[in-house]
């Protein structure tokens, strides 16, 4: 068996971080699309759509992310087909992301004064024109900072994918610990790597808030 130097451990962890980044990116993009649809449903004047979206948000925000991973991995195997950790991790994290982004964006759309809707209607724009030309451009500006801030949450959330055997940063930290018996050092480096990814994002989110 070969020995691992501390430098080896650091490089192994940095290399493992690519899976964390990839999973976050995919989930953030898919979750963004789904979150946008949820937001549209939530603010739409059609009652049933509104309630479906509301129920979805409450249920997803009311269950732990860890449980969503477990449900997506072990729970969905009831459908028969074996589902890979990568697929179920993406599915679970997309669900999580879509619910929170949907809520954040709904908040920014609702923060636009209703006079803006009325003014757009007075110009005889139809519903989608009102939304697309008047409301969304203003809402997007307000939503940028919380959306970027939420990206850090998604990246931290990927660590729970380790529970279903998806080897990303946190999981490889555990694997390395099992070989090296140096949990304090390994987990500290892992925390530093996560910090190095998330901290700039948090700072950017705060900067954007002020502009």
């Amino acid at each position: 068996m070969r020995d691992f130097s501390h430098l080896d451990i650091v490089f192994a962890l940095l290399w493992a971080a690519r899976w964390t980044l990839m999973l976050s990116a995919v989930a953030f993009i898919c979750g963004g699309v789904a979150g946008f649809l949820l937001m549209l449903m939530r603010i739409s004047p059609i009652r049933p759509l509104k309630y479906i979206s509301w129920a979805y948000l409450e249920i997803v925000q009311g269950t732990p992310l860890l449980l969503q991973f477990l449900l997506a991995f072990l729970g969905l195997s009831i459908l028969g087909s074996d589902i890979s950790p990568w697929m179920s991790a993406t599915l679970a994290l997309t669900t999580f992301t879509s619910a929170f982004l949907g809520d954040i964006w709904r908040g920014s759309v609702e923060s636009i004064p209703s006079g803006q809707w009325e003014a757009a209607r007075a110009l005889s724009l139809n519903y989608f024109q009102q939304l697309g030309l008047v409301i969304l451009p203003q809402a997007v500006r307000r939503s940028i900072s919380p959306t970027v801030g939420f990206l850090a949450q998604v990246i931290k959330g990927t660590s729970l994918a380790s529970a279903i055997g998806f080897v990303e940063l946190a999981r490889s930290a555990t694997n390395i610990t099992n070989v090296t018996f140096e949990p304090a050092f390994v987990y500290l480096v892992t925390a530093v790597v996560y910090f190095g990814i998330c901290f700039p994002i948090s700072v950017a989110s705060r900067k954007l808030e002020k502009t």
């Binding site: 409450e58 009311g62 269950t63 729970l160 529970a163 946190a170 930290a173 949990p183 987990y187």
Partner: protein, 208 residues
């Protein structure tokens, strides 16, 4: 069995909320004290916790600290990690609340002859908590959900019990679906409770 899990989940969350709020008040006090050193320590603590995943914090505390010296059992490590985590978020939220209190309120307190601790408690802290109540309670719901992660170090809370039942019955979907329902019910009833308490607790806010 599930009930014993629910019980430990509630126990862990409520203890972590109580201790975490204490940490948060001290942290916010340090941050707003004007003392450079204390302020920096508090800010570093908040940033370090908020920018790393809870799972890694938990594993560091459970395996890392145990390997360095003092032995923690999984329940103690879970409570410590949840407290440290919630404390950081609480610090940030309470700080925002404290800074929302206007200087003139403090001056009014002084001119009424209140002592410094009295001013902090009555003039700053109470209205500050009233201002940040929604943010604080939603953070508490997040903590309740976060407590599921401590199943990873075999603390026997709700998710751990669920995993155990699954390994015995092989009924994956049913077990996890039930767990999901329990968590949703817990989260929603906490929200409802917080909403009901809101009116009771902050009657005095009408006079400010």
């Amino acid at each position: 069995m599930l009930l014993s899990g629910v019980w430990l989940t509630l126990q862990l969350s409520s203890l972590a909320i109580i201790f975490g709020l204490a940490v948060g008040i001290v942290g916010a006090l340090c941050r707003t004290s004007g003392n450079r050193f204390l302020g920096t320590v508090s800010a570093a603590y908040v940033e370090a916790i908020r920018n790393t995943p809870f799972l890694v914090q938990l594993l560091f505390i459970f395996f890392g600290i145990s390997s360095l010296g003092p032995r923690l059992d999984s329940g103690q490590a879970a409570l410590l990690a949840l407290t440290i985590n919630f404390g950081a978020y609480a610090t940030e939220i309470i700080r925002a609340g404290v800074q929302s209190i206007e200087q003139s309120q403090i001056e009014a307190g002084m001119s009424l002859g209140l002592t410094r601790p009295q001013i902090f408690r009555l003039v700053i802290l109470k209205p500050a908590i009233a201002n940040i109540y929604p943010a604080l309670t939603s953070q508490m719901v997040l903590l309740l959900l976060l407590s599921s992660v401590v199943s990873q170090i075999s603390a026997k809370e709700l998710t751990y019990v669920g995993n155990f039942l699954r390994s015995r019955s092989f009924r994956d979907f049913e077990v996890y679906f039930t767990l999901a329902i329990i968590y949703v019910v817990l989260a929603l009833s906490f929200k409802l409770l917080a909403h009901l308490c809101h009116k009771r607790l902050f009657k005095f806010m009408r006079y400010i």
